[in-house]
Every structure is written in C-alpha cells, then in structure tokens.
C-alpha cells in the first residue's frame, strides 16, 4: 500500500494503532487522528474493518447479570422528561410560528401520550401536575424555559425519590431527611444509606452549579470527621439524584452536602447546604 499522511499520521502508523483503535483504548487525540486519517485516506485500510468486525463478538462473551427492575423505570422516566422538554422547546410561542414542524403519525402520538401521562408516572398526582405545567409552558411563552426546567426537575426528583425509597426499604438501610441546617427554606431531599455502604441521595431546590463548582456529599460518623463520598453538578432544574458508596459508618451517620469550588475536596471548605441524620427504618 502506498504511504499517505493525513491528520499527522502515516498509513503505517494508523495500521500500527488499528487494534487499539477498534478496542477504544487510544487517547481521544490519538483516536481522533486515526478517524480523520481514515476519512481522507484513499487506501482501503482493510485490516481496520476486519479487526473492527470482531469487537461486537466480545459482548457475547460477557456473563449475564440481571439489572434491577427499577432501572427501566428510571430510564423511561428520564426519557419522558426529556421528551416533555423537547416538545415544549419545539412548541411555538403564541402567535409566533403558526405551523409546528412536521407532525408525527397519529398512532405514534397516541402511544406517546399514554407513556407520558400514564405508565411512566406512577401516581396520578404527578401526572396531573406535569400535565398542568406542560399546558402552562406552551401557553406562557416567556416562561417556557423556566417551566421546562421545573417539569424536568420535578420528574427527575420524582424518579430519584423512588430510587432512594427503594434503597431505604432494603434490610438494614437507614434513611435521612436532608434540609438546610439553619432551618431556612432551601434545598431539601432524602438520602438512603444501605447496609452494603451504597448511598442514594435525591435533592431539590439546590442552586445551580457554575464553572468548576460541584456539590460534594459527606458522611459524618461517630468520630465527627466528614468523609467525602462523591460529587455532582446541578443544572437549572435545581434537582439532583446521585448514587455513590462508602464503607458503612454505622447507625446514625450524618449525610451532608457542601457547594465546593471544585472537585476533589477532602474536607469541607464551604458552609453545609443540606444536612440530615440517617436512621434505621426497622421496627
């Protein structure tokens, strides 16, 4: 094969990296260069296709493990919220854009409607709330973005609550109600600390993070030393659902959240935004 250079790589170099490329273990810059070379190079690079075709076989070698039943609920709920946000974003503001983009077939619409407001929402009150909010979002033009965030946030919060309660229902699990330690109205949420050390947290009314900011979650055991257990970011919806784990710290562990300027805090550097003591639900 003739030697060409594209994206700073010769054909030989691309061939040399072919196995690593198809296995997805090159750095982003390296794999980008390979992809760009392949896109421009007149050579067939047939071995690349041969190696690539083997990769799906590796999936079939994986030992089957059953996912929890709640996973599908979470995915459907999140997709439903996404769809609501998308549809709302596409909906014309009053009198602004008279004809909506190509309508999907009626059958598809009917199916969607049953998903949006039926199966996905377990409790009718949530469905009603979301339906009202959606109607309002379409009607009120300027409030669209804010309402969309609220609807998405509401749905994310709902599915997060379901998840935390599922965790809290497990034997030996503890549940904490999180709120602003000063008692002021602010972020609220729940945290479940399972016997195996997994911690599920769901929060709402959190101010959005910006830049490198993250919310860091802490466990405070009997020794009163906060241990960082993971971080997450929050968007405009103010809601967050978060799953992490840490070696169990025993009964009555305190769960706390701080808003840290960046990832990686090993001790809290900012005031506690939400706090709650976990209690066993048994008996």
């Amino acid at each position: 094969m003739a030697e060409h250079t594209f994206a700073g790589m010769t054909c030989s170099e691309v061939a040399d990296q072919a196995p690593a490329f198809v296995l997805g273990i090159l750095t982003p810059a390296e794999s980008d260069a390979v992809r760009r070379h392949l896109g421009e190079c007149p050579e067939l690079h047939a071995e690349m296709a041969e190696l690539n075709s083997v990769v799906p076989a590796l999936f079939a070698a994986v030992e089957p493990v059953a996912p929890p039943a709640s996973l599908k609920d979470r995915i459907m709920a999140a997709a439903s919220a996404d769809l609501a946000a998308r549809r709302e974003a596409a909906a014309p503001a009053p009198a602004a854009q008279p004809s909506p983009p190509a309508a999907p077939p009626r059958a598809a619409q009917a199916q969607r409607r049953s998903w949006d407001f039926g199966a996905v929402f377990r409790r009718p009150v949530w469905a009603a709330l979301a339906a009202v909010a959606l109607v309002a979002a379409v009607a009120l033009g300027a409030w669209n973005v804010q309402l969309r965030d609220q609807v998405a946030g509401l749905e994310a919060y709902r599915s997060g609550v379901v998840r935390v309660l599922d965790e809290a229902a497990k034997p030996g699990a503890q549940l904490a109600v999180l709120s602003d330690p000063s008692g002021a109205p602010g972020p609220t949420g729940l945290a479940a600390v399972a016997a195996d050390g997994s911690v599920a947290i769901v929060m709402r009314n959190l101010p959005a993070t910006t830049g490198t900011q993250v919310y860091e979650a802490w466990l405070i055991g009997a020794d009163q030393v906060p241990v960082a257990i993971g971080d997450f970011t929050v968007g405009g919806s103010g809601s967050a659902s978060f799953l992490t784990s840490h070696a169990p710290l025993g009964e009555g562990v305190v769960v706390a959240l701080t808003l840290e300027p960046q990832k990686g805090a090993t001790k809290p550097t900012a005031p506690i935004r939400a706090l709650g003591q976990a209690r066993s639900q048994a008996g």
């Binding site: 040399d16 072919a18 196995p19 690593a20 198809v22 296995l23 997805g24 273990i25 090159l26 750095t27 982003p28 794999s31 390979v34 992809r35 392949l38 896109g39 067939l44 690079h45 047939a46 690349m48 296709a49 041969e50 190696l51 690539n52 075709s53 083997v54 990769v55 799906p56 076989a57 590796l58 999936f59 079939a60 994986v62 030992e63 089957p64 493990v65 059953a66 996912p67 929890p68 996973l71 599908k72 979470r74 995915i75 459907m76 999140a78 997709a79 996404d82 769809l83 998308r86 549809r87 999907p104 598809a108 199916q111 969607r112 998903w115 949006d116 996905v120 799953l243 992490t244 784990s245």
Partner: protein
Amino acid sequence: MSDPEIAARGTAGSDADRTDRAWMDRLAGGDLGALDLLYEQYGAMAFSIAYRITGDRSAAEDVVQDAFLGAWRNAGRYAGARGSVRTWLLSIVHHRAIDAIRRRRPTVELPDSETILPDTLTLPDAWGDVELRLDREAVQVALTRISDVQREAIELAYFGGLTQTEIAERTGVPLGTVKGRLRLGLQGMRAALLPLDGGRGGGGG
C-alpha cells in the same frame, strides 16, 4: 459508493437492516414505545456489559441509563452508522462504562463527555467487513482459539480500559508485544468467527 462489500452486506442483512432503521426512526421521532422495546431487548445485556467493566452495580446502572438516554437523544445519528442497533447500543454502553472507570484513574486523559458515539461507529460504510457469527457459543469457541496472553491483552484493553502502555506495564512485556498480542488475538478470533459458508462478500483486501 459501489463497493462490492456494501452491496453484499446490503443483500445479506437487508431485512434486519430495515427493521433496525425503522426502529431508530421511531426513537428519533420521540417514540417512548420504541425505547421500551429497546430496553426489553438489550437492557439486560447492556447491564451485564456495564457490570463486567465497572464491577459495581450502581455504577453499571448509571452507565446503562446514560447509554439508553444517549441512544434516545442521538437515534437520528444512527442512520449514518454501520452495524446493527444491538452493536450500536452496546458500543455506547461500552464507551460509557470505560469512561466511568477511567474517571477513577486520574492519570488517564478523558474523552469529551459530549462525545457519545464510539469511534468504531463513526467509521464510514466503506470500512464494512463480512458479518461474523456472534452467537455466544461461536464466541466462546473463538476465545479458546487464541492464546491465553492474547486473550488477557484483549480483556485488559476492552473490559479494563487500559491503554497499550498500561497493559505492557501490567503484564511486564514490551509495548510492541502488547500490540502484537492484540492484533493476533483479534485476527485469530475473526478467523474462528467467519461465516461457515466461507465469507460471502469477501474481506475486500
């Protein structure tokens, strides 16, 4: 685009291709029923792969949720990708799971989190190869046809997310040896997985 491979592939898998495409069209159109079906079909396999890579049930759940939502939001981009919906979806799962474990290892350069399509799926159609047998039994046999060290290298790469240099360090052999093991291992598996009818469409070389 008159590549004989593509023509051959078109005839070999046209029904499945059409079904897959219709499925993706429904997803792209925001059909939650299609997502439901996708999960019913591949959710368990997706979870198994994510669990195999992360070794952690909750991390695996997050990976699968991310992957299905990624598929849901990006189904419109499937039209240009080669391979079945199964391969497409499971590759996204793999990609996300590797991201998740690399995030635990701060020394590794992280992919852009916005990039949800694995590289192999953005290859142009002209890179198509013959369709291999991918049933579990054939794959198990294929894995016995390659050497232990080749299998180890592939596993460290694909399920461990290790770079070639990291595999070399881990296994105590030079980088060139790692590259050779990966290549020979994949080629050996391919040879064992070629269709029994002799590979309709040819290898294109």
